[in-house]
Amino acid sequence: MLIEIHRFRRRYLTFSGGNTLNSAILAIVLVSYAGLILVVFSGKGNFPPLGIVMFQAVLITIFAPGMLHGAIAGERERRSWELLLVAPISNAQIVFGKFLGALAALGVAFGFLFVPIMFAAVTYLNTNWADLFQGELVSITFAVAICAFTLLISARVRRPFVALGVTLGSLAMILIVIPGMLSSLVGNISGAIEDEIWLLNPIYVLAKLLDHRRYDYGGAYDRGGLSNHVWGWPQIGVYLALSAVLLRWGVLTLKFAENDVKFLPKGQKEDA
């Protein structure tokens, strides 16, 4: 962990040579963060905290694959993978080590975003703390699931950029394209069916949590959607279960990945 902190400092805080671009990226991130703080502080009282949680979920969906896509595929590409495989540590330890490292980095990101969320929550008139807590948990558990998914893809491919492309592409398909196509195919559908189609999209879930305080204080959503109880805890449970399954799958994948011949194209495999 100490080495990772040193590496981060060297990559992003040296402001020289090949690290200038990294430093510039960090500067943009910090300026954006300062902008967010400024917007939230200036719009004091009018900013729903769940809105920032939604923004956080979008950010993490892009940030987590960007951070983790090379976790295993990168080791393979730079040929340092075998050095880890011959060490007296299990495949599960390797995967969980990478996973915990990613969670630590995510923790820092969540920590930074926690400041504007809390400020908005305290100043916003209609803050429902139970919904906010659930919304934050939806966002966090979704981030955990994204990390597990990215690790699985990284464990199954050889090139980090392939891992990044496959992860972002798959997420776009699962979260946006397929539900969107289903929605448009079914046509004029009831709120309940639409809710079912988008059931696992965290942004939709957070929007529901935000909306039901605004429009619906009773039972079902006024368009005939699913009950309010469907939003929040069920998704948290699904994301956590999904994370466990994806991590386990990732560990099992490494068993196969030990044999590099599996990665060779078919023709070369026969010659090997």
Binding site: I3, H6, R7, R10, R11, E75, E77, R78, R79, S80, E82, L83, L84, L85, V86, A87, P88, I89, S90, E258, N259, V261, K269, E270, A272
Partner: protein
């Protein structure tokens, strides 16, 4: 002690390694010789627990690579033919990372790192970034990484590939020193002179089969049981060849060049002096008479056909 027992690896219909067996003791430096694709790396990867053998096994100090791979990993250091180093990491940080993975106690790590850096002659580069090191230094750093947990067995796959002559010489000396320290070292290579200098045992592999295995002297002796003499004359090579064939202890003689004769000989040095005296007595103008020693390269060329899987 390392006992390799009938190791076999099949990939679909292809048998990469078929029944390789050998034993090595502390201090042995084993040169694993073979052409590209002969099965050296596959064998090494099986011993290092990276690949599961199709059948057979290997025992390192009693620990089985199949039943107890974690215990084996604690006792071995593996240097692959190609390896990568992490960017933005200093030499000591790199070693510290692997020392942590190999569960070297935190309090001992600094001392261990200093020791392996000294052994690999990298002390002055302790604070340097790994990507700033030359290829030879990176190779030594990788070897230092293999040594942080004081392994019993070192598996070095083509360790000298891509190194300049000076770096090769330094690496050879380092490997010889590791042998003197009582470690079992397996070095694979297809560059034979490089191995002959410091290996006390060799194994020659072709198409997954171990063709010969044992001490270098013994293998050379087995390949060439008789002495081979080379006689050079100023003239009359053909006549001298006929004359030599009738001399004592001569198994055969043939012209190997212009006025140059190759003699298969069983006599000792005394008899050799007599042969020379006899030639001179018969008025042959002899320039030199010298023994042609076989080396690892000759043995390799004699044993192998150059076929690959």
């Amino acid at each position: 002690m390392l006992e390799v027992k009938n190791l076999r690896k099949e990939y679909g219909g292809l048998t990469a390694v078929q029944g390789v067996s050998f034993n090595l003791h502390p201090g042995d430096i084993f040169g694993f010789i073979g052409s590209n694709g002969a099965g050296k790396t596959t064998t090494i990867r099986m011993i290092s627990t990276l690949l599961e053998p199709t059948s057979g096994t290997a025992l390192l100090n009693g620990a089985d690579i199949r039943r107890d791979p974690m215990e084996v990993r604690r006792m071995l250091g593996y240097m692959p033919d190609f390896f990568g180093l992490y960017d933005d990491v200093k030499v000591w940080e790199y070693l510290d990372f692997f020392a942590a993975i190999y569960q070297v106690p935190t309090k001992k790590r600094a001392e261990v790192i200093d020791n392996v850096l000294e052994l690999t002659d990298l002390t002055v580069k302790k604070q340097a970034f790994v990507q700033s090191l030359s290829r030879g230094m990176q190779q030594r750093l990788c070897l230092a990484r293999c040594l942080v947990h004081d392994p019993t067995l070192l598996l070095l796959d083509e360790p000298a590939s891509g190194l300049d002559p000076r770096a090769r010489a330094e690496l050879k000396e380092l490997i010889a020193e590791l042998g003197r320290m009582g470690k079992i070292v397996i070095v694979s290579s297809h560059i034979l002179p490089e191995l002959a200098d410091f290996c006390n045992t060799v194994g020659i592999i072709e198409r997954g089969t171990l063709l010969a295995c044992g001490p270098v002297d013994r293998i050379v002796k087995e390949m060439q049981p008789n002495r081979k003499l080379k006689v050079s004359l100023i003239r009359d090579g053909s006549e001298a060849t006929l004359a030599i064939r009738d001399m004592p202890f001569v198994l055969g003689a043939q012209e190997s060049g212009e006025n140059e004769i190759s003699v298969d000989y069983t006599g000792d040095h005394e008899a050799q002096a007599d042969l020379l005296a006899d030639l001179i007595k018969r008025n042959f103008r002899v320039i030199t008479i010298q023994e042609d020693f076989a080396d690892l390269e000759d043995v390799f060329m004699k044993l192998t056909t150059g076929a690959v899987n």
